[in-house]
Amino acid sequence: MSTQAKEALDHAATPWLFLAAVATVAPHFAHQPAWLSIAVALTFAWGGWLWRQDRRLPGRWLLALLVAGGCAAILAEFHTLFGRDAGVALLVMLMALKLLELKSRRDAIVIAFLGYFLLLTHYFYSQSIFTGLWLLTALWLVTATLMRVHGGPAATARGVLRHAAVLAAQSLPFMLALYLLFPRIPGPLWGLPQDAHAGRTGLSDAMTPGSIADLALSGEIAFRVLFDGALPPPSKRYWRGPVLETFDGRTWRPYPGVTPRPRLTLLSPPIAYQTTLEGHNQRWLLALDAPSALPDDAVLSGTLTANARQPIVNRQRFSFSSVLDYRFNVDEAQPVRQRNLALPGNNPRSVDLARRWRAENPAPQALIDKALDLFAREFFYTLQPPLLGENGIDEFLFTSKRGFCEHFAAAFVVLMRSAGLPARVVTGYQGGEQNPVDGYLVVRQSDAHAWAEVWLAERGWVRVDPTAAVSPSRIETGIANALPAGEPLPALLQIRADWLVTLRYRWEAINNAWNQQVLGFDRERQRNLLARFGLPDADWRDLALILGITTAILLAASLAWALSHRPHRDPAMRLWQKALRRLARKQIHCAPWETPLALAARVNSERPELAAPLTEVVNAYLLARYSAAGNDLKTLRAAIARLP
């Protein structure tokens, strides 16, 4: 009987296991190698077919071969079995193969627990609302599956689904307590595998023709900004990223050495705002040009770029103040000016042109105007410029005359340097779109931009955006209106229908609220919350203590509830259970539906030596529990004591 209970996995339980497996594995299909997804899907289909046909499952040797083959394939793909991607791939493969090994109830339980573990791994890849909802549903399904496996065929689908939902609901208070009180550790809690943050998009610290145009095709959000006051006009929304000072003829890079602290004169009142930056694996924080006050854990570089001390790998929030009108390094040091005049040997025609302009009129403003005038008259703004060769700037200026912001910025800086004006490229983002639903300004990767900065005596570094000369609408209304018709754009920005735009705004506002309120609950907010409950300056020890007390109270409360709702157990019943436990030690098991008399009859035929004492117990128990005379527990106790 006991072996039966262990082995029995009824045929009708299998679809539940498949459902649980698919629900926990499916989201991984989005990012794992295609061959693995196909192999897993085929395994599911095979297992399902075997089940429908009621065929024998593959033997142990075939399974071992399949596992070895799967491990080899994963090893070939990732060169390891560990780490985020390879580890998850391994788990997914094992989950699929386990479905071919459904022999006993134990196998089914392994699938349920592997499912729970796989649920966790999805958070390595996404923490969005959809992921949360999917995982909640999958959790419900896996729990229901576990209950179905334990309950056997008597458990109905509605019953187990309802019970699983009730269980999940009952765990909510614990979930909330853990969410609110678990110590928040800046950075990952455990050592995440090396590859955990790979593949993020964003600005890089080098610029070649085409690097920003690539970004412009992404509708991903780079950061969101909430201004305390009014929104600055679009033409003033320059979000300053890395400043590129060295040029090797093709690629622009930041100056690698140390630059003295920037000296900023404020000409307008500062405006305050909060930026919520998506993780981009870089240190720059993309403050509005020019930042006047930084958050505590940020530093200002000599080129006025706000940087974090560590690369930003997760979404993080920063508070800034910026001024829109300023003077920056009017007394710029000679070596800095000198290195912003340096040019590689190529692009001779451009250098000649700039020198001719300087011979005509050496006034700096005249030179700038000349260059901008040239761009405005003869150039086109496009995402698909022709490829450029060795003398890229020359080709761009004299032959192709089509380019994206990085072409214009680079050509402008080369012209200015050739004409003797210190100039450099500034990269970052320009513009952004305000979501009317929640008031946040949303800046996307497609808003990535490059512009130029020229140093003028008396005025310091002055921002000049050559793209504005070519395509003023890029600056005023964003990239979608600036590009000629027919050019590729992020799908999101192609939507023009009003109701769809409204829907997108709504959705992004919901997402932002999720990010700000749920995912953004960091150490600072946790501390504020506890301070509001009269616990200022709680460190992780205090938190652990509060968490321990809270969970203890919750546990005690649920225990008290469960105890008070427990069906009252009759003392005779308790004594009977004691007798059954004694019998179980003698390898006699009584099914819950077996009557005491039936048990006595069975024992009489199977184990005659136990029959006499058991009959005494049974008779005493039946009299105590079912007779009108009431409880004669003494006889029952004495009879049980006589059980061997």
């Binding site: 008597a154 109905t156 009489n604 039946l622 079912y626």
Partner: protein
């Protein structure tokens, strides 16, 4: 042999004598007597020639009950059951001639051969214990006990009883084929019906109400009622059935279990009694989800196995 200590087994002689007539069917006989003691009506369903009528006649004889029999046919009218009023010329008034239903034990043979109209005349009398004919309500004799027999429904020319009518029968039995030893004795003795005439009543009909009161007084402890409730509830939740047991079925189950316990000489009902009578109480009231037939014996066994004894 470990069994419960018994005071006496009442009606043991009746059961033993009936066993001699109906060979190899002691459980069925005991269920039939239990049904009578619980004050319910009995439905026997099986193929022709398996001893349905003999069983009814045997019980009537042994218990000293006034017996009558109606052979149900498709042209049977309600008045053939309840009786008619005829004009008495001598006294110049209508006189009621009671029908066969006015007896203590009525055998309604092959009830499903009659039209629903005739069937309902009988079933209403069974439910109410009285007959209303021509504006006058006449009580039926006490005790009043109906044994109806029915052929399996898939036979030609039958009007199957609807569930609402089936619910009025406390128990339903299938006699089934006798085992080989019993059948051999049957053949050797040349049929059992001839012995019916030799039977002498072992009981007086007037004693029966007292026995029925004794049965009703058999103690059903709280845990036992919980068990009946759990079984009824489980039948409503079980996916194997189209619908569950009615509260009337629950009452019937408890009453039958009491009678079963009393026949065993106990003054308290045990879960064993409930399990023993459950198939006879529940099978005709439950409809299997697969097919449109009664619940199978396996379904009931599974139902018992799905409920822990509280």
């Amino acid at each position: 042999m470990p069994t419960f200590p018994l005071a006496r087994r009442p009606l043991a002689p009746v059961l033993a004598r009936a066993d001699e007539i109906i060979l190899g069917k002691s459980t069925e006989i005991r269920l039939a007597v239990a049904c009578l003691l619980a004050g319910g009506h009995l439905l026997i369903e099986d193929l022709p020639g398996l001893g349905k009528t003999t069983l009814a006649q045997t019980l009537a004889h042994l218990l000293g009950l006034q017996f009558s029999r109606i052979q149900f046919t498709s042209d049977l009218l309600p008045a053939d059951i309840t009786g008619v009023s005829i004009f008495d010329h001598e006294r110049s008034e209508f006189r009621f001639l009671p029908g066969p239903i006015f007896s203590q034990l009525l055998l309604a043979d092959e009830i499903n051969r009659a039209t629903p109209k005739a069937q309902s005349a009988l079933l209403e009398a069974m439910a109410e214990g009285q007959v209303t004919a021509e504006g006058e309500t006449r009580p039926l004799p006490r005790p009043f006990f109906v044994i109806a027999t029915q052929n399996p429904m898939h036979q030609i020319g039958t009007f199957p009883l609807p569930e609402s009518q089936l619910d009025r029968f406390l128990l339903r039995l299938e006699l089934g084929y006798p085992d080989q030893a019993a059948e051999r004795r049957l053949l050797a003795s040349g049929g059992q019906r001839q012995h019916l005439d030799e039977l002498t009543p072992l009981l007086d009909a007037s004693a029966l109400p007292a026995l029925q009161r004794e049965v009703a007084a058999v103690h059903a402890a709280g845990p036992l009622i919980d068990y009946v409730l759990a079984l009824v509830e489980a039948s409503r939740q079980a996916p194997a059935f189209q619908h569950g047991l009615s509260p009337r079925a629950g009452l019937g189950l408890l009453a039958a279990a009491r009678a079963w316990a009393w026949l065993d000489g106990r003054d308290m009902a045990l879960p064993d009694d409930v399990q023993a009578v459950l198939p006879a109480v529940a099978r005709h009231r439950l409809r299997s989800l697969q097919g449109s037939d009664h619940a199978s014996a396996e379904d009931i066994a599974a139902l018992i196995r799905s409920v822990a004894i509280p």
